[in-house]
Symmetry: C2
Subunit: 339 residues, 2 copies
């Protein structure tokens, strides 16, 4: 695989373009013509990943057909809210036999669907064979974009139902500073990557309240138990939540000012309104719509999700944070294995 198209020129799409040790040609597609042009002329993405020079083989464009032409691999790195749209635009232009990689961490808000399901259904609707599902991988893990671009040691997981697809995705990015593991559980990898953003907001709330590491660790651990049992009800393997896409990503984002979701939580914990916090961020915080998606999945499956539910009340229903926390702390005594 030598020719790669990356859809989405945010911080993560751009960081992924800087890796790819064996690629001959990388086309980075930005929907915004101004952004594509700026990247192409300055050889950097000053808007979303400032200070990182792009390699010579990266070409930015706003022309989707040109980006996809001759691509052997297409990487989807757009926010979950834009995925359906972009996947539908790309679907009729996909070269035959292409490897598809979802690099986005979110769920479709209305349907609760995973991003690779959205990519697959868009392709099938455009006439692709249902077997295309076997050629879709998900790449996820504790991968803060700015750190990946700095070249510090990082690990990630490439998951697909077909082991060959997972290994092809692994081979694309594996390098001395970016270690990729394969996984046969794309359902778990995608659910963990999306759902952990909700827990990261909760961890930020603890920080914003001035609580310490004990509170943050307790919230993250119980949150992990919550997303694990919801994930398992949706077909995931529990061990995946113990891995890089689960615990790993939670550790990286649940205590880092570099994480947008964590920063949203900090603002909420400080008592500021959601709109102000999100407006100040200037980028998408996936955990906000994912909180809604998790609460819907919790209702649909009948699996309790007390932390996501409490966060939903705080974010969207005007409940105060101390009130929500008191309820979580004062639930009846129980066994760690129960919920």
């Amino acid at each position: 695989v030598r020719h790669i198209a990356i859809l989405g020129a945010g911080s993560w799409g751009t960081a992924l373009a800087t890796l790819l040790p064996n690629a001959e040609r990388v086309r980075l597609w930005a929907r915004d013509p101004g952004l594509a042009e700026a990247i192409q002329s300055t050889r950097a993405n000053e808007r979303y990943l400032p200070g990182v020079a792009l390699r010579r083989n990266v070409e930015a464009t706003d022309d989707l057909a040109a980006a996809l032409e001759g691509a052997e691999c297409v990487v989807y790195a757009v926010p979950s809210g834009a995925m359906r749209d972009v996947a539908c635009l790309a679907a009729p232009l996909l070269p035959p036999g292409v490897l598809l990689v979802n690099a986005s961490k979110g769920l479709e808000e209305e349907t609760g669907r995973r991003m690779s399901e959205v990519i697959r259904s868009a392709a099938v609707e455009a006439g692709a064979s249902p077997e295309i599902a076997g050629r879709i991988a998900a790449l996820s893990g504790p991968n803060l974009a700015v750190e990946v671009a700095r070249g510090v040691p990082t690990a990630s997981v490439a998951a697909a139902t077909d082991p060959q697809t997972a290994r092809a995705c692994q081979a694309l990015w594996m390098g001395p500073a970016f270690r990729v593991y394969t996984s046969a559980d794309p359902v778990g990898v995608e659910l963990a990557g999306a759902m952990k953003n909700v827990i990261a907001i909760g961890a930020g709330v603890c920080e914003g309240l001035g609580y310490g590491d004990n509170s943050r660790a307790a919230l993250m651990t119980r949150g992990l138990a919550e997303i694990t049992r919801l994930g398992v009800a949706l077909g995931a393997q529990p061990a995946t939540f113990l891995g890089l896409a689960g615990v790993g990503d939670l550790i990286a984002t649940g205590g880092s000012r570099l994480s947008r979701n964590f920063r949203v939580g900090v603002g909420i914990g400080q008592g500021r309104p959601l709109e102000d916090v999100v407006a100040e961020l200037g980028q998408v915080a996936e955990g906000v719509p994912t909180t809604r998606a998790i609460c819907r999945l919790s209702e649909r499956t009948g699996i309790e999700a007390p932390i996501a539910r409490a966060l939903h009340q705080v974010l969207f229903e005007g409940r105060t944070v101390p009130d929500a926390i008191a309820e979580l702390m004062l639930r009846p005594p129980r066994d760690e294995a129960d919920f």
Copy 2:
């Protein structure tokens, strides 16, 4: 349970003495007469938990027999290196039917034994019935002592083979700011609590090297996989490592300057010799002897432990940190489920 003896007046033993919402009388035993006297006269432990006032029901003493007399519960909160000694001293003085709680996170260095095993064997050697095993609980979780003393929301897990014992331990500490879960897996809770200290040193090394959250999260996740599979080989339940004593404690200590093990790692990552780092700390960092214990358990069980092994080489065999990390990053590509 109204009368409690706490053996060990370090930061954790002292913090535990400040909780106990329903206790009538708490005796805090310090081996050092000067420390016991200072605590008793100042009503605070300025050496190990400065600034925290003790409640009126807490009495510090260096007289072990007086501390244990009439106790319905004995809490062991001494460093693992002193546990055998203290357990043997206490064993002949234990009142009949007493509840025993291990609150220490370590393994006996020479034997790799868990602390509750040490407590049990000392009691049995002093003539107790082997059934005493059913009355031993382990209390563990993301519980930085200074934060517990500050009263921020904290969660912990009380584990015992006998559910009644676990519930008795839960009832002792449960309060609005300290939430205790029960667990039927004391083996997993104790192994997780001890072994996570080794991973916390590794996380500190990443920090000391100036690496970011990606590296730290990857090391902690792969470290968690490593201690989980070693724990399972020793009889633990894998889910316990996903809980408060595993992931939870790892999150609280693997990124916190308040953790002694993390601070040891930071110093090592900065290239300083182990002796200097430990000397500066002035308190025990359990992860240092536990690294040796894990490597021995790895050899005995035949379960690979590449991170503990690499840390052993760095701490005790003069290997450089960059060299050890390069080897970990350059291991052959593999599946996340393999090791």
